[in-house]
Amino acid sequence: MLLFIPVVVFAVLVLVLWLGLSLNPQELPSVLIDKPMPAFAMSTIEGEEVSNIDLPEQIFLLNVWGSYCLPCLVEHPTLMRLSEEGEIPVVGINYKDQDDLAQDWLQTNGNPFAFSIYDMQGRLGIDLGVYGAPETYLVDADGVIRYRHVAVLDEEVWINDFVPAIAELKAVSEQ
C-alpha cells in the first residue's frame, strides 16, 4: 500500500499544477472590452480638430505612444509595416507627451498613424484606462473596443493575438 504514496502525491501535484495554469499570470483584463470607444473632441499633434467621427469606419488599431517611450520604438517597425502595407489603419494616441517632441519623433522614425490624438493631460487615457505607453486597442467598424494589448506589439503578438481576433470579428460581421 505504501508503494502507492508516490502516485497519489503526484496526482495531487498534477492537480495543483493544473490549477496553477488556470491562474494565467499574464493576462490583463480591460474594463472597456466590448464597450464603445469613449467620446472625445480633441486636437491632433499637428493641431487639427478631431473627434469620434474622424475614426476609420472599419476595423482599426488604436495605439498609445509617446516620444519618451522606448518600447514604442520596438513596436514601431510593426506598426509601420501594418499601415504601409494597408493591412489595417492605425490611429495614435500621443499620451502625456509634448507635441513638438512627438512631431520630431514621427519625422525621425516614420509616421504609421492616420492621425495622432494629442492627449497631453492623459484625459482620453483616463477614459480608456491606459496603464502607460505602449498599449494597443483593437476597435471594430462600429467604434466598439474589442481587444486590448498592454506592452509591445511586435510581429509575434500581431500574429498570435491580433490576427485571430480580427478574423473572428470579420467572421461575426459577415454572418
Binding site: 508516490p6 503526484f10 490549477l19 495554469l21 488556470s22 494565467n24 499574464q26 520596438v74 509595416r81 510581429e155
Partner: protein, 667 residues
C-alpha cells in the same frame, strides 16, 4: 520551400518514433525477434530526420528567412553569424527542437552501445524512449512548430535576439543542460524496462550506471555554465539566485546525485532496489518538471520563455501520463523486488542511505519553496514570495551534514563497519582538519574568522579523508605506482567528484562571506576604495558594435598605488530591439574576481556603478568541473563493459538475481 521540408522531417520523425514506441514493445511481449530488431534501425531514422530538421532551421537563420516566424522573432540581419546559428535555441520552439534532437542522440547511442544486453531488454528500453520522443515531437507539431510561416506578408527584418542571450556561455549552456536533462530519460527508460520485464536486479543497475553517471556529469556542467552565464551576463553580482527556473535543474541534479549513489548500492549489494527504481523515475520527473515550469509560464522569471497556457496543458499531459503511469507501474511491480536488509546500522549501505535521505530532502525542500507561492495563491488568492534566505537556511545545513558523511562513506565497509574501525581510520583526519581549519585562516587573515574556520574544517575533512582512503588502499601493495594503478576508474571518478565538492565549498563560502560590493557615483577622475583595491573612473567613450551602440567607461584598478588592471564596462543599446543592456567588466583571477557593472550616467557626466570584489569566485565553477570530470571518469570505467558479458550468462537463468547469492558473502 525549405522550411516546409523541416516540418516534413518532423512528421517523418514522428511516424518513426510512433513505430519505435510500439513495435519493439509488442515484440518483447510476444517474443517476436523481428519486431524487437526493428528498434535499432528506427533510432537511426529518428536521429537523421531530427538532425535534418534542426539543420534546416539553422539554414533559415543563416539565410535570414524572416518568413519563418521563429526566425523573424529571434534574429535580425545585423546579428553576427554565430549568434544567428545559436539563436536556433534562443526561443521556445527552437530550443524544444534541440531538446528533442538531443534525446534522439541519446536514443541512438543507447541503440549502438547496448549490443551486450539481452535483446528483449534493449527493445523495451528503446520503446520507452520512443514513446517519450513521440510525445515531444507531437507537442512540437501541435503547439510550437519552429517552421511556422508568417503569412501572407513576412517582415523585412527580424526582431533581434534578446541581448542577454548574445553571449558565449549562452551558446553552450542550454545544449549542455538539455543533454544532461535528457540523459536521465535513458536511466528512466532502463528503470521502466526493468519494471516491465520484472528484471530488477544488479544487472539492471550495472547497465544503468554508466548512463546515469554520464548524464549526471553533463547536467553538472550544464548547471555550472548557467550559473556562470548568470554571473557575468546578468550583472547582479551573484551566481545563483534561487530563481524558480534555476531551481528545477538543481532539483533534478540532487535527485540524480542520490540516484548514482543508490545505483552503486543496488549494483554492489543488491539492496535498495525499489528505492533506486523510484529515484530513477523521480530524477526524470525532475527534468520534465523543469521543462514544464520553464515553458508553461506557470512561474515568471528571467529565464522563462514567452508563455502559453495551451503549451503548459500539453506538457502537463505528457508529464501526467509519463510520470503518473510509471509511478503506478512502480506501485504494482515493486512488491516483486523484496530484498532483505542484509546490513548493519553501521555500514556503508547505511551511510549511502543517509546520503540519499539528505539529497532527496534537500530536493524536496527546494521543490516546496519553488512551488509554494503558486500553491498558496491557488488556495488563498493571496500573493507571496519566498526569498533566497529560505533556500539558504534549509539547503546549507543539509549540505554541511552531507559533507560530514561524505568523509565517512567511502572509508566505511559494506555490510558492517565497526565504530572502532571508523574512529581509527578517521580520528586523525578529524583532528588534522580541525587544526588546518583553525590554523590556516589565522595565518592568512591574522584574525579569528568563524566562517573561514568552518569552511576550512569541512574542506580539509573532504580532502584529508580522500587522501587517507587512497593511502589505505595502496598501503599493502608492493609499490605506490602499482597500488594507484590497481584502483578502478570509477573509484578515481568518485574521489575526483568529491574533491570537486571541497573546491566548490571553498568558492561558495569565501565568495559569500568575504565578497565585498559597493554602489557608488563616480565622475571622471573620482576614485573609490574597496578592500585593498582602488577603482578610478578615467573617462567615457562611445563604442559601436555590430548591432549596438555603447558608452564605454574606462576604470583603472590599482593596488597599493600600482596599476593592476583596466576595466571597460559598457552600457549598450541594441539597435533592432531598442533594449538597453549593461555589459559588465570582469578581471578574473584564481583567488579573486573584480568586476564593475554600470548603472546610469547622470547629467553631470558621473556614472552610477556597482563594484564587486569576489574572492575565490572561480572555485565555484572549478569545483563543478572536477565533479563533471569525476562523473565522466566513472562512466568510462571499463568494468561496465567487461562485466556485461558475465551478466548475460547469469541472465539466462530468469529472474534470479545474481546478487542473492552474494548477499551473504563468504567473508
Amino acid at each position: 520551400m525549405i522550411p516546409e521540408l523541416g516540418s516534413f522531417s518532423l512528421i517523418l520523425a514522428l511516424c518513426l518514433s510512433g513505430l519505435l514506441g510500439t513495435l519493439p514493445l509488442a515484440g518483447a511481449h510476444s517474443g517476436n525477434a523481428l519486431w524487437m530488431n526493428l528498434a535499432r534501425p528506427l533510432t537511426v531514422g529518428i536521429f537523421v530526420f531530427l538532425g535534418l530538421a534542426i539543420s534546416i532551421l539553422a539554414w533559415a537563420f543563416a539565410t535570414n528567412d524572416f518568413s519563418v516566424s521563429f526566425v523573424a522573432q529571434h534574429s535580425n540581419t545585423l546579428l553576427p553569424m554565430r549568434y544567428k546559428l545559436t539563436a536556433v535555441w534562443g526561443g521556445h520552439e527552437g530550443s524544444f527542437l534541440l531538446w528533442t534532437f538531443m534525446l534522439a542522440g541519446w536514443i541512438l547511442s543507447v541503440g549502438t552501445f547496448s549490443r551486450s544486453m539481452p535483446l528483449d531488454f534493449v527493445a523495451r528500453v528503446l520503446a520507452v524512449l520512443g514513446l517519450l520522443i513521440f510525445s515531444y515531437i507531437l507537442f512540437m507539431l501541435a503547439t510550437s512548430n519552429p517552421f511556422d510561416r508568417i503569412v501572407p506578408l513576412p517582415p523585412a527584418d527580424g526582431a533581434d535576439l534578446n541581448s542577454a542571450l548574445q553571449d558565449l556561455a549562452f551558446i553552450l549552456h542550454p545544449p549542455t543542460l538539455y543533454m544532461g536533462y535528457v540523459g536521465f530519460s535513458v536511466v528512466f527508460a532502463f528503470a521502466i524496462a526493468a519494471l516491465l520485464s520484472g528484471r530488477m536486479d544488479a544487472a539492471w543497475a550495472r547497465w544503468s550506471r554508466p548512463w546515469a553517471n554520464l548524464s549526471w556529469a553533463i547536467l553538472t556542467l550544464g548547471i555550472a555554465l548557467g550559473s556562470w552565464w548568470a554571473y557575468y551576463e546578468l550583472g547582479w553580482g551573484g551566481y545563483w539566485a534561487w530563481d524558480p527556473v534555476e531551481n528545477p535543474p538543481l532539483i533534478a541534479w540532487l535527485l540524480g546525485t542520490a540516484l548514482i549513489h543508490s545505483l552503486a548500492v543496488t549494483e554492489k549489494r543488491g539492496v535498495f532496489r525499489s528505492w533506486t527504481v523510484l529515484l530513477a523515475i523521480l530524477a526524470f520527473s525532475g527534468s520534465l518538471l523543469g521543462t514544464f515550469i520553464t515553458r508553461s509560464g506557470l512561474l515568471t522569471s528571467v529565464h522563462a520563455f514567452a508563455s502559453d497556457p495551451d503549451r503548459g496543458l500539453f506538457i502537463l499531459g505528457i508529464l501526467g501520463v509519463a510520470i503518473g503511469g510509471s509511478l503506478l507501474l512502480f506501485a504494482l511491480r515493486a512488491p516483486l523486488m523484496k530484498s532483505e536488509a542484509g546490513f548493519e546500522l553501521l555500514s556503508r549501505e547505511m551511510f549511502l542511505l543517509t546520503n540519499n535521505l539528505l539529497l532527496v530532502v534537500s530536493a524536496a525542500s527546494i521543490f516546496l519553496g519553488t512551488l509554494f507561492p503558486m500553491v498558496y495563491q491557488a488556495l488563498t488568492d493571496e500573493l507571496i514570495s519566498i526569498g533566497p534566505p529560505y533556500f539558504n537556511v534549509v539547503f546549507v545545513p543539509l549540505m554541511l551534514i552531507l559533507i560530514a558523511f561524505l568523509g565517512i562513506g567511502p572509508i566505511s565497509r559494506w555490510k558492517k563497519t565497526s565504530a572502532t574501525y571508523l574512529s581509527k581510520q578517521l580520528g586523525k583526519v578529524l583532528l588534522a582538519s580541525m587544526i588546518l581549519g583553525v590554523g590556516l585562516p589565522l595565518l592568512v587573515l591574522l584574525e579569528v574568522s568563524i566562517p573561514a574556520t568552518v569552511t576550512m574544517i569541512f574542506a580539509s575533512w573532504i580532502l584529508l579523508s580522500i587522501v587517507k582512503d587512497l593511502a589505505a588502499k595502496v598501503a599493502n601493495k608492493s609499490s605506490l605506482e602499482q597500488g594507484l594503478r590497481g584502483l578502478s576508474l570509477s573509484y578515481y571518478g568518485m574521489q575526483t567528484a568529491h574533491f570537486g565538492i571541497a573546491i566548490m565549498l571553498v568558492g561558495v563560502a569565501f565568495t559569500g562571506y568575504f565578497g565585498a560590493e559597493r554602489s557608488v557615483l563616480l565622475a571622471a577622475g573620482d576614485s573609490v576604495a574597496l578592500g585593498e583595491y582602488e577603482f578610478t573612473q578615467v573617462g567615457t567613450s562611445r563604442v559601436n558594435g555590430p548591432n549596438y551602440f555603447a558608452d564605454e567607461v574606462l576604470i583603472e584598478v590599482t593596488r597599493q598605488g600600482e596599476l593592476i588592471r583596466q576595466l571597460h564596462p559598457q552600457r549598450r543599446l541594441y539597435i533592432a530591439s531598442g533594449t538597453p543592456s549593461t555589459e559588465m567588466a570582469i578581471d578574473p583571477g584564481f583567488f579573486r574576481d573584480l568586476f564593475v557593472t554600470l548603472g546610469e550616467q547622470k547629467d553631470n557626466g558621473a556614472w552610477s556603478m556597482t563594484i564587486y570584489v569576489k574572492p575565490f569566485a572561480r572555485w565555484i565553477w572549478l569545483g563543478a568541473l572536477f565533479m563533471a570530470f569525476g562523473g565522466s571518469l566513472a562512466a568510462a570505467d571499463k568494468r561496465y563493459r567487461r562485466l556485461r558479458v558475465k551478466t548475460n550468462i547469469l541472465h539466462s537463468r530468469h529472474h534470479t538475481s545474481p546478487v542473492t547469492a552474494s548477499l551473504n558473502p563468504a567473508k
